[in-house]
Symmetry: C2
């Protein structure tokens, strides 16, 4: 059968993620990769995880291995809601949906909000897999630029006037740029979104991964504080998503959405036909670990580990990169962003780099409407400091060589 | 914000599953429910599962808790391919995709094959969550009726002439009807699908759950046998999906698709933006258990348990149900199908039954284009034999009472 003639139009437009395909090239063991968005495996709490698996199976095996409700395992939803109340959002269990990683949250939000041809407003650059998820639903993108303090809010009003379905923001240690939105800008965003009645989708996978400076309130917290006192559950216009991937493990595929109850209900109906429910076993394991308070200690280990790696990357870049390259200095997260000489194409650099056994992700795919050919995203969480030093040294040599040619 | 005005058109058409909503009514502990499609929790291999979790984490923790490839964990794909070769399908790893339960397979197939307004051919009645998944993509349904030997193949040719995107069939112990397609009809289906060049989607979650009679070859096996000798990988027009849910646990959400490589590639690209990948940890646990040969022994325990339950249900129905009710006698699986007096509406019976603390699923939602008001699906895998006896006795009383009124 000629399958290419059998696929739906939607499928003909689907393209494999440029990044996933590039990363396939970097799977050779001799390649030092700054390309992926992987946690450092050294920080996975394997023993604690094992203990939780045993405990869940010993105490509640029949429940853990059975089908569950689409919205998620009740005690886990309650725990996430209680965490959210601690950071100032008035939510109950009806405001929480458990997802199969936060990528599923992005997909479900596209499914529920985007008509073919609709506008979605984003930062530029922004998380490439969100763009990929929403293109399937026919989204077109309008975007506002970022500087070293995140989204340039002054440019947001004009895009909100075009009435996008929602505004997508990663306020903390943004992927790909590593920047953090200032408090002042967060407040302005809340005010703008209220004035124009446009939902904000706050994607916040890295919040606890802060290595210096003060944590800033989440956008949903600021928005909840602006609600009338009389409202006793969250009814604002921010939809918030986060994940266990960075704090516990991405190998369990566990994320969540916090939002107004009507949105959670609609996302749940959408999730029914997508995969019935998220693994109950995995939810119970995360719930056991979360409620034990372990993650509050464990985050210290992750922070110390990633800060050392970030510092090594920044230090080696300062030493080895050509003088006309500039880069962000992230206060947390897993990525930094580098802009090389204007006339140099990062995807050409990639080809040379891979021959020298070092990899990164060219920045262009992160721009919803093109541009950024001379940018690159570098991940600092995955490799050890020694490997980072070696890899950045190689990459510096490659960049100088390409500039010289 | 008025959220109802914010949702996309697609979302406005989404309806919560009638069954899931009804089942919510049956969650009271005093209700005996034949409604869900749940395995009996008594057969979950909790200790074996625990052992596998520990072993995977001890030996390969860093890999298990990391992100993985979208196509799935390579050794698990290889194992599934080797199983498929044993049942006569010439496949390699490129013919296998791991999914987050087989519901995800159904959703991805909808995403990849269905344009808004396209026809999909099904049995009538058929699996309701498949209908729900494909309606989101704008499918319209044409269907052929079933009798006690499954899909009436004589009626299939006329629907294939209308050129549906694919024909959806559950050949073994069908959900909801419990019927099994005869060998002769399977062969005719393969021949018809080849003649009209229409893909067959073979959904086969219950294959190993056979309690009597001989196992029949899968449709994909018959189709593979009909390929030219020279083809060394599967290149036919059957897409096959199955799951670990019935054999191991539905709480791990693990299924798979076997199909021609171009289809697997396209489904993988679709899966990228949906959830990046299926839990590596869970895949490794299933791989450990699968390769150990444990499931071959464990299936004996499941068969013995469910056969006893099926027999108790059939026996009690014969005793207690009104004489004008007729039902299927499934050779395996988890469901049987009952047709009550023509003028009686099963959803009215449901209301009376729930007051008597017994529940089932009215059959109408399983008919893609309406009908079947006087039908009901009864699950026999979840309740113990004693509870089945009590529940069927209650339901018999309810049916007689409703008939008498």
């Amino acid at each position: 059968m000629d399958w290419d003639n059998q696929f739906a139009e939607r499928a003909l437009k689907m393209r494999s993620s440029v990044i996933r395909d590039m990363l396939a090239l970097t799977e050779r063991p001799d390649v030092i990769s700054f390309g992926g968005g992987l946690p450092g495996p050294q920080v996975f709490p394997i023993e604690r995880f094992k203990k939780a698996c045993c405990r869940v199976l010993d105490e509640n095996g029949e429940l853990a291995l059975q089908y569950g409700s689409t919205e998620g395992y009740r005690p886990l939803r309650e725990w996430i809601a209680s965490q959210a109340r601690q950071y100032g959002v008035k939510v109950g269990i009806d405001n929480v949906l458990i997802t199969n990683g936060s990528q599923q949250a992005l997909d479900l939000i596209g499914r529920v909000f985007i008509n073919p041809g609709d506008l979605v407003a984003t930062e530029s650059p922004t998380y490439v897999s969100a763009l990929q998820a929403w293109r399937v639903y026919g989204a077109r993108f309008i975007s506002a630029p970022s500087d070293e303090h995140g989204l340039v809010v002054e440019k947001v009003e004009e895009i909100l006037k075009q009435r996008p379905r929602f505004l997508y923001v990663l306020p903390n240690f943004q992927n790909p740029s590593g920047t953090t939105l200032t408090l002042e800008r967060r407040k302005q965003l809340v005010e703008l979104a209220q004035r124009y009645q446009i939902p904000i989708l706050e994607d916040d996978p890295y919040y606890p991964l802060r290595y210096e400076g003060e944590s800033l309130p989440r956008i949903i917290t600021l928005e909840s504080a602006a609600q009338p006192e009389s409202d006793d559950v969250y009814n604002g216009n921010v939809i918030y998503t986060s994940t266990f991937s960075k704090l516990l493990s991405p190998g369990i595929r566990l994320g969540w959405v916090i939002g107004p109850a009507p949105v959670i209900r609609k996302l749940s109906v959408a999730k029914q036909s997508v995969d019935l429910n998220t693994s109950v076993f995995v939810q119970m394991v995360a719930n056991e670990i979360g409620r034990s308070g372990f993650l509050d200690e464990h985050i210290q280990i992750i922070r110390a580990c990633y800060m050392e790696r970030r510092d090594m990357m920044l230090e080696t870049m300062a030493e080895m990169f050509p003088s006309d390259a500039v880069w962000t200095r992230p206060e947390g997260g897993m990525f930094l962003w580098c802009r090389i000489r204007e006339d140099i194409d990062a995807s050409e650099v990639f080809k040379t780099a891979i021959q020298q056994n070092v990899a990164f992700v060219p920045g262009e795919p992160f721009f919803p409407n093109g541009g950024g050919k001379n940018t690159m995203r570098l991940n600092f969480s995955f490799c050890t400091p020694e490997t980072i030093r070696e890899g950045i040294t190689r990459l510096g040599r490659v960049l100088k060589q390409v500039e010289y040619e």
